[in-house]
């Protein structure tokens, strides 16, 4: 900024001057084209910036716009223009600026190395940051073009659709049923019987409170006409286990669609009667 300010102070130029002039030299030839995008109203800029995919994209645009070669990387001109974009960007879209600022710093560094003969001698061949930037620009441009090409390539939905025919009615999926051996069957039976006996040996009053038996009992207590309150069905003398069995038996009956369970409102008492829910 102060760089340009200095220029302005020493050589004030009227703002209206706009005739086309050689702006740069490409391969030794003067380039006479006014880059019309040098000044963009900030409002428009915001929109334009959104179309750039990042600092490399913006840089590529500036280079291509003026028909420079990437490999020539006219650092001085491009840096100036780039800075303008970045400055405006910093105003309108601060959160975007991070990546762009890194590039700005890199451009500035490259520029300084070109302009300072001393630094240039030291650095010369090895480790030229400009070479690295050229490599990155070329690499990015390749991908940019590849993406454009991919976008143009014929694709499903937009350019073609899959052609299908319906299978005739007699096409039915084939189910492969699992294989079962007699041995598995015999052992399954033996295991079930062994376990049943183990239950019996361990006595258990659970047998007394079998869910099935309780379900049958409930079926006999309940009637299909009137609702019975859940509290009437629970026998507190059976203890917590009895309450649980009764409750499970009711749920089991509901599952089998043999009783209807109703509740007027949340936390209200539950009522049960014989009958099923409408099957849908």
């Amino acid at each position: 900024m102060s760089e340009t300010k200095a220029t302005t102070q020493t050589e004030p130029t009227p703002l209206t001057q706009q005739q086309p002039l050689a702006l740069a030299f490409v391969n030794g030839e003067a380039l006479i084209e006014k880059p019309e995008d040098l000044y963009i109203p900030p409002d428009a800029l915001e929109v334009i910036l959104e179309t750039f995919e990042g600092p490399l994209d913006l840089l590529l645009y500036l280079i291509r716009k003026q028909k420079f070669d990437i490999a020539e990387l006219p650092v001085l001109q491009v840096t100036k223009q780039y800075m303008k974009y970045v400055e405006t960007m910093a105003e309108v879209k601060l959160e975007l600026a991070g990546e762009y600022l890194v590039m700005a710093a890199m451009l500035a560094e490259i520029k300084s190395r070109i302009l300072l003969p001393k630094l240039k001698e030291v650095d010369d061949d090895e480790n030229d940051p400009r070479a690295e930037l050229i490599r990155r620009l070329q690499e990015y441009e390749k991908i940019k073009l590849a993406a454009e090409r991919l976008d143009e390539a014929p694709r499903l939905e937009r350019d073609f659709q899959i052609a299908h025919a319906c299978p005739s009615d007699n096409v039915q999926p084939i189910k492969h049923m699992p294989q079962v051996t007699l041995k598995e069957l015999a052992f399954a039976f033996a295991d079930a019987i062994k376990r049943a006996q183990a239950f019996k040996d361990h006595k258990i009053s659970k047998e007394v409170l079998s869910t099935r038996a309780r379900m049958s009992m409930l079926m006999q207590i309940l009637n299909p006409k009137t609702f019975t309150s859940l509290t009437e069905l629970v026998d507190l003398s059976e203890g917590p286990a009895g309450v649980v069995v009764t409750f499970i038996a009711i749920l089991e009956l509901v599952k089998e669609n043999l009783v209807v369970l109703e509740q007027a409102q949340p936390y209200a008492n539950l009522h049960v009667k014989l009958g099923g829910y409408e099957q849908n």
Binding site: T7, L15, I70, E91, R136, F160, A163
Partner: protein, 238 residues
Amino acid sequence: MNKISDEQLKQLVEAAIFVADHPLSIKKLHATVLTDFDVSNAQLTSVLNEIELDYAPRGIQLVQVASGYRFQSNSGLGPLLSRLWQETVPKYSRAMLETLSLIAYRQPITRGEIEEIRGVAVSSQIVKNLSERDWIKIVGHKEVPGRPALYATTDAFLNYFALSSLSELPSAEEFEGEHEDSLQASLKIIDDPEQENQADQNASNENGAIEDAGEDITENEASQQDNDNLQPPTQSVH
């Protein structure tokens, strides 16, 4: 193993490809509809070639994509056929296409590597979208600190673009030629400080008006501090 005539084989293979839910590979054809028949790969390939030729003058064609053979409408009919659907065809953003292209051409690649080449962060949304479309998948992890995921494209990606393999993508080298630059010649010019200075002077002198207009606006609207932050070390040069 039963025998099947060429005519029957052609009908069966054609119908199978038409009714299947997914493209059918030669292997899949053997394992399903041809399982009872004694059909050589050569015989099958020749029948597929015949079918391809049969459909050449028609509105649809037999194509080989990554996961097998399928029929699809001619690309030229796309815009007309799209009238069959209410929805508009999805468009993909440049960020998405560039990310996808990088994964396609440079796979397996990490997110960090994509960001390095594109010069901007890759949004999680893009990676998520591409994964949800089943166009990319994680194929492993790079053995560097953080073990970042390595991405690659899928067969579904190739199917979508009607490609049978990645080698059918335009070669990356083609893009290099598009703006053929002679690196040698250009470096010579840039290395010549006089010319570079001259060009710079030209630019600042003759273009000063337009540039200044831009600068003024920037300076007015941005705080001095912001400008200092932006200021590269170049200011000492002039």
